[in-house]
Symmetry: C2
Subunit: 287 residues, 2 copies
């Protein structure tokens, strides 16, 4: 058994689609897996390579779970920064499960944090919608205009999803729920045809405002992305990454403007120009 599997990073929520929508982006984690009778060995390079490499490593846990034993060697090579709202854990779980021969890599990915939308994007690619249905993760694809790409603001600070979730209230005004439903409809329509995409389609009342206490510069950056030419903008997952939804012809300008705004605000970090990934997880048999 010797396989590699590659899965894309993902940006979830996309403003109104809280815990629902995600899009796969062209930033990858690759997992190489081969039998090793002597027992588990994990090596890593790239993002996350400083994590402990024992049985507690997410790739080791997923591979052991899929295979039913730990006689395996894993090499993880990741481009996806950790704890930035780009779905690094879900992508790693999906890639590892696929490399280990799981029939349902999406299910393993969804099991990592109980929110299936990142895993759905990493498994299927493109724009996806996902939900838990009777305690099982379900995902479906949605149309994505091929001209759409992303300026992704990735600050040099981590924001744990658990912290980002603790700031959210348990009860919300019905009007805010309806606000998000309406924007979600407009967003899905606009992502299928960017000519129809309104800036307000990225607006949200359920999570972004509350989470701004954890990243006070976010509102100015979101507004700046739109002013620079992004069709709309939103948080990526639980943050702190932010997404400018652009077209191929505007993404460089928007990314340049975002770098200038970050500098002006004193926010260290990088801005990535990323296309959507449409393939999802890809497995290669090596021998």
């Amino acid at each position: 058994m010797h396989r590699t599997a590659r899965a894309p990073a993902s940006s979830a929520n996309l403003g109104p689609g809280f815990d629902t929508l995600a899009v796969a982006v062209a930033l990858y984690v690759e997992v190489e897996l081969r039998s090793r009778p002597g027992g588990l060995r994990v090596s890593a390079e790239g993002q996350g390579s400083r994590l402990p490499r024992g049985a507690s490593h997410l790739a080791a846990k997923v591979a052991t779970d899929v295979l039913g034993h730990d006689r395996v060697e894993l090499h993880v090579h990741s481009q996806i920064p950790l704890a930035r709202g780009l779905g690094s854990s879900a992508a790693l779980a999906v890639a590892t499960a696929a490399a280990a021969g799981a029939g349902d890599p999406f299910g393993y990915g969804a099991g990592v944090d109980g929110h299936p939308e990142n895993a759905a994007a990493s498994a299927l690619g493109g724009l996806v919608t996902a939900a838990m249905v009777a305690d099982r993760p379900v995902a479906r694809s949605l149309a994505l205009d091929p001209e759409i790409c992303f300026a992704v603001v990735v600050p040099d600070r981590e924001l744990a999803t658990s912290a980002a979730r603790q700031v959210l209230p348990e009860m919300v005004p019905r009007a805010d729920a309806v606000f998000n439903l309406g924007r979600l409809g407009l967003l899905v329509s606009g992502l299928a045809d960017h000519h129809q995409l309104l800036a307000t389609a990225g607006d949200d009342r359920l999570h972004q405002g509350h989470r701004s206490v954890l990243f006070p510069e976010a509102p100015a950056l979101l507004a700046g992305l739109r002013e620079a030419g992004a069709l709309t903008s939103c948080w990526s997952g639980a943050g702190p990454s932010l997404l400018g939804i652009c077209t191929v012809s505007t993404v460089a300008t928007v990314a340049g403007a975002a770098r200038a705004i970050m500098q002006g605000l004193g926010v260290a970090g990088d801005v990535l120009e990323l296309g959507a990934d449409l393939a999802g997880v890809q497995v290669t048999e090596l021998d």
Copy 2:
């Protein structure tokens, strides 16, 4: 000036898409409008023809508003039952505004009750998503699988939207808002391709449960529609009509089963088998 305009009925909400989604169905109101120097005259046949025919008639109000005067004769011929959750008012307003030459019949329709989704469906046809954005109604089209059609349960009882709205709480659990967002994503995906449509995609936690106090037989009917072969089922607008979302090949069976269930429950009324309307409002110049 002598024109007719025809607009389709619509079914709004569609379960999770509360105040957001609507689909146009092949049941119509037609408005014939011609100049009448002697002043306003309103005549009507079909559904709603017993309403007062003076200046208070919705068609008279809309035509007067568009034209800036009331020297007009209106004849309204409607197939759309009133106060059943089939968007009769929005369809009448859209048709009248179009017959009167309004540049934006959707806007006039949305102005009738402040909820733009019915008007959007009547104006654009097909599946639409709508929202109020900075106090202006905005609508966009969504993909609709041409094989989808509807078994529409239309009880012989009226249910005013205002009453149906008063039973809704102002605050809702965030988990319920997320539930609806997730189902809305699944529903939009499934309406674009009925092979992908899950029964749970029609589920809702924001309005249908609360409104069942006004129509206690609704849950049994909704479940019966699914058991009879509907892909999913939901309330139509604020009710009391209910929608079985079917394919061309199953709608007759589902409608037959629904009639039997209504009889068993003692719910008087009819079940219509309706295709989607894809054209929206259509204007014909007569001279």
